[in-house]
């Protein structure tokens, strides 16, 4: 059956119930690797961050990275997991050139974290609780680059290069229980679940959590159960789906594909599948059976771990507020409507706005500046908005606007000065001479001159045609070279028009 034959999604859901499961790998951002002292660093020269241990040289031995253990426990706690009193590593034996030792040092019987759950909220407001079976530690493989072929895949390549810099980087693999009852929400559950894991890892600071750099990688398991049956269908595991949107698409695709196969009387092969971002389809990988034999056995080169309960409780105290709860709290405190709040969240500016509010700015002003002018400048410069100014600088700028020292237009100029490194907002105002002229004497002189210079306008204002004042305001602003508060000018124009001789 060709990949292109898909069943309509709604029809697939009519006939089958989708059952999901996810394995999410989170790459920890420790300074050094999981089992040796080599730098855990992205972007170094090929095979420079290596040693006898992570290169799998004869005689090399592993040592557990304590920070990685700590990060794993914190991640487990944030996922509501139990932390094992006794945990140990195991060897997962298989031959592949990116795996230097030809076994992965992972965990099998005694994972460090087990039996947790997180509740995610879908756009409809539906709450779904995803049960976490386990979260275990392991080391990452090196990176293979297949050379000479047209596709960059191993098929058709002339040779392959291997870079072991990533080999031995610490990973936490988070495995869910079977997710039943997803129904039409299945694709969105996939996306939202992975987003939640990513957000938690980021909030904890244990991972850079950038999916585009492979810090968070998702394997999605999908099977279909015919309506009315209580027998689980055969599952496929779509590997390395590396964006939130792709998780959603891949789950949807597999439901539609499997439904078409099953409806036509075919069977699903238990296998891994590759996700193709460009075409939006999955294709068969290698067959995977439950009897896949990795010959797991306890890693004899490492001692079992027994994290003390005191330490676990200390780590529990370091957990940040759960991201979902924090979002709820902030939106209520700031009084943002959904659209405003989503704008902030989607622009990854929650931290920036929160810090700006904490520095004294109003929530609305902070939101307006971050998602408006600053985001625009950042976009032009191709950098992150929060790299341009600090929340404290922005709060100071907003304070100047609110005190009437700056108009919005002047404030944008001051912002440019701050970004250019000319100093604090107050210093930029001082140096560029940008403060609003608030000396009513100078303004009144300019207004009087303008009113007297346009007697017809003055007459109209006196007749109650207030909108005519615009012409005078414009002339005054021009005379003041923009350094006047337009609202104050308008006030004074109306006042002077009534009294001027």
């Amino acid at each position: 059956m060709a990949n292109s034959e898909l069943m309509d999604f709604d029809k697939a859901l009519e006939l089958f119930e989708p059952v999901l499961g996810f394995e999410v790998h989170v790459e920890l951002n420790t300074k050094t690797k999981m089992f040796c002292g080599c730098a855990n660093e992205f972007g170094s020269g090929a095979n420079t961050n290596t040693c006898p241990t992570c290169l799998g040289l004869p005689g090399g031995l592993p040592q557990v990275n304590k920070k990685a253990l700590e990060s794993s426990i914190r991640l487990g706690l944030a996922l509501g997991c139990e932390i094992a009193e006794h945990s140990r590593f195991a060897r997962k034996n298989y031959f592949y050139p990116d795996t230097a030792k030809n076994f992965q040092t992972s965990q099998y019987d005694d994972p460090i974290c087990h039996d947790g759950s997180i509740t995610i909220e879908l756009e409809s407001g539906r709450l779904v609780t995803v049960e976490i079976e386990r979260a275990h530690m392991e080391d990452d493989a090196g990176k293979l680059t297949h050379m000479g072929g047209a596709t960059g895949r191993i098929q058709g390549a002339d040779y392959s290069l291997v870079d072991y810099n990533r080999g031995g980087v610490p990973l936490v693999e988070i495995v869910t229980q079977m997710i039943e009852g997803a129904e039409h929400d299945a694709p969105e559950i996939g996306k939202t679940y992975v987003a939640a894991i990513r957000e938690i890892a980021k909030a904890l600071g244990v991972s850079n959590a950038r999916m585009e750099e492979g810090n968070v990688r998702c394997d999605a398991n999908v099977s279909l159960r015919p309506r009315g049956s209580n027998v689980l269908g055969t599952r496929t595991e779509t590997k390395n789906v590396n964006s939130l949107r792709s998780v959603e698409r891949a789950v949807r695709y597999e439901i539609q594909r499997q439904a078409a196969v099953l409806h036509a009387g075919g069977t699903i092969t238990q296998e891994t599948r590759h996700w193709h971002e460009d075409t939006g389809i999955t294709s068969a990988g290698r067959p995977k059976s439950d009897a896949d034999d990795y010959r797991y056995f306890p890693e004899p080169d490492l001692l079992p771990m027994a994290p003390s309960r005191e330490w676990v409780e200390e780590l529990r105290l370091t957990l940040p507020e759960p991201p979902a709860a924090r979002r709820k709290r902030l939106q209520a405190a700031w009084g943002f409507v959904n659209l405003e709040f989503q704008d902030v969240v989607n622009s990854d500016l929650l931290d920036a706005v929160e810090a700006t509010v904490a520095a004294g700015a109003s929530a609305q002003s902070a939101r307006k500046w971050w998602t408006g002018e600053i985001a625009r400048l950042a976009n032009v410069a191709g950098v992150a908005a929060d790299s341009l100014v600090t929340p404290a600088q922005l709060a100071a700028l907003i304070a100047l606007v609110e005190a009437g020292t700056l108009t919005d237009r002047l404030a944008r100029q001051v912002l440019e000065g701050v970004i250019a490194g000319e100093g604090t907002p107050a210093e930029v105002v001082e140096r560029r001479g940008l403060a609003v002229v608030s000396d009513d004497g100078a303004l009144i002189a300019a207004i009087d001159a303008a009113l007297l210079g346009q007697p017809d306008v003055l007459a109209k204002i006196r007749d109650g045609k207030v909108q005519a004042a615009g012409a005078v305001i414009g002339a005054v602003m021009k005379a003041m070279r923009g350094q006047a508060d337009a609202a104050r000018v308008r006030e004074l124009v109306l006042e002077r028009a009534a009294t001027i001789e």
Binding site: P52, L55, G56, L57, P58, G59, G60, L61, P62, Q63, V64, R91, N93, F95, P97, A100, K101, N102, F103, S160, V162, A291, D293, R295, Y296, F297, P300, D301, L302, L303
Partner: protein, 515 residues
């Protein structure tokens, strides 16, 4: 300068410290002796003559400058080829590593160098330490200096033969199931397997990680103790390394030389390690030694270790299981030889397969297959799981025995050195040869082999194994040194002075004459 090679490390050390002899002279004497005898014996796979002389010259310069040096500074040493050395090829006796020079030193090697010992070269061994005869080396056999038609033991036959034939006063070995102790026994030398975790395994090419332990090989107990003090102690690079502080083994050995050192020492003789399968002359010398110990005031008790019966079976599941995984890294991708398949495409899978086919010898393949099978789904519990349970039972046997006695004793090996080829066709016969030594590895306790005489029927050395509780290595040295002194005074000579001459010079010149 032949006499320099006859000296113990401790005696040589005194001459070096008093500057009567230079490290260069001592090193040259050993290198000359290697040239004279090793073409035939083949204890060494690699001799680093120039590097050794350069190291020795540095030690002499430092000593002349008045630097504070370790007592063993300037003493030559041979290193088993299982240990990574950054200036010498490291093959573990396997063709798959032919010519490989590691980019780093094993921790024990680094400690040797720091202490100023002079590495002479790398010694022969059964491939990846799998064997009891050194016949499984990919680079040819090593002969036993006592009888050139017999095995020097294994896997560390090269280190034992080098020491027994006076090519080096000291050597490093590794012991997974007896690879230090059994070669010591059959060559009339001393070998110690320290407590598991007592000596770093970092840079020791792993056979079975939970059993392997690096240890000293020498001609006297005191020399072994001096070397143990250099190589032992915590190493953060080995997670199984114990963090305990250790007493001086040399001081413990000196305690054994004091009068009455054996008085009141409670010695347990393991019932299960005697009788059937033990050569008559081995049993005879063992019993004579016990009688001597009684006369020196020791108390002998027979103890039972009922689960030792299952030790060999459990060992030959745990070892191959761990080895099958440890040896997976030999895949031609990063180091070692690479062999392309004769036909078929050059995929990494095919190249790995062809390399392992050509690079591993039959015993290695046998154990990889055994271990892969023992770990397979559906068999794990029956094989690996059961073997681990036996291991626990053996640990309990030791605990029960050590609640009654201070040390345990048995013959180090059931027989004296056997002839080349005698057990090659029958792996079980080879495996059962380790029945005496394997329990200590399974339990992680320290064991020592010292020579106790020649078996009357074949005139070949017999070894006594002494075992102590985990971390009580010092007790081995005290008891071992005491017994060694007792035996030598009863004989009127050392064990190895009885060994046959290997060179014409030795045949015609007495030690005194050489001086």
């Amino acid at each position: 300068m032949t006499y320099l090679t006859k000296l113990s490390a401790a005696a040589l050390s005194e001459l070096l410290i008093s500057r009567e002899v230079s490290a260069v002279e001592a090193t040259r004497a050993h290198l000359d002796h290697i040239t004279a005898v090793d073409t035939d014996l083949h204890a060494f796979l690699h001799v680093a003559g120039d590097a050794a002389l350069a190291t020795a010259a540095q030690i002499d310069a430092r000593r002349a400058a008045g630097d504070a040096l370790n007592p063993l500074a300037g003493v030559p040493i041979a290193i088993k080829d299982v240990l990574a050395t950054q200036d010498m090829p490291t093959t573990a006796g396997s063709k798959i590593l032919e010519g490989w020079v590691p980019p780093y030193d094993a921790t024990v090697v680094a400690r040797l160098r720091a202490a100023g010992l002079v590495p002479l070269g790398k010694t022969n061994m059964d491939e990846f330490a799998m064997g009891s005869s050194t016949e499984h080396s990919a680079y040819g056999i090593t002969r036993n200096p006592w009888d050139r038609d017999r095995i020097p033991g294994g896997s560390g036959g090269g280190s034992a033969a080098a020491v027994a034939s006076f090519q080096a006063p000291l050597a490093l070995g590794s012991d997974t199931g007896g690879s230090i102790r059994q070669p010591a026994a059959v060559t009339g030398s001393v070998g110690v397997k320290p407590t598991y975790g007592g000596v770093s395994r970092y840079g020791a090419i792993a056979l079975a990680s939970s059993l392997d332990q690096v240890g000293p090989v020498s001609r006297t107990v005191y020399d072994a103790a001096l070397l143990h003090d250099v190589i032992g102690g915590h190493d953060p690079l080995d997670s199984t390394s114990l963090t305990d502080g250790w007493p001086s083994m040399a001081a413990a050995a000196r305690d054994g030389l004091k009068d009455g050192a054996l008085r009141g020492v409670r010695i347990g003789v393991i019932k299960e390690l005697s009788g059937d399968g033990f050569q008559a002359g081995v049993t005879q010398r063992f019993n004579e030694t016990l009688a001597l110990l009684v006369s020196a005031g020791a108390e002998i008790t027979e103890v039972s270790a009922p689960n030792f019966e299952y030790a060999v079976a459990a060992y030959y599941l745990i070892l191959p299981a761990e080895a099958s995984s440890n040896l997976a890294r030999f895949d031609s991708v990063r180091f070692g030889i690479r062999v392309n398949p004769e036909s078929g495409s050059l995929t990494s899978e095919h190249v790995m397969s062809a390399t392992r086919e050509a690079g591993f010898g039959p015993e290695v393949k046998r154990r990889i297959i055994l271990g892969t099978y023992a770990l397979s789904a559906g068999y794990y519990d029956a094989y690996y799981g059961s073997a681990q349970k036996v291991r626990t039972l053996i640990q309990r046997d030791f605990a029960a025995a050590f609640s009654q006695v201070d040390v345990l004793m048995s013959p180090s090996a059931p027989t004296t050195a056997f002839k080349f080829g005698e057990k090659l066709a029958d792996p079980m016969a080879m495996y059962i040869n380790d029945v005496t030594t394997i329990p200590a590895n399974l339990a992680g306790v320290p064991g020592m082999s010292i020579p106790i005489g020649l078996a009357p029927e074949d005139g070949l050395p017999v070894g006594l194994q002494i075992m102590a509780p985990a971390k009580a290595d010092a007790r081995l040295y005290t008891v071992g040194a005491a017994i060694e002194q007792l035996l030598e005074s009863s004989w009127g000579h050392t064990m190895l002075s009885q060994a046959p001459a290997l060179t014409p010079t030795e045949m015609f010149a007495s030690e005194e004459g050489a001086v």
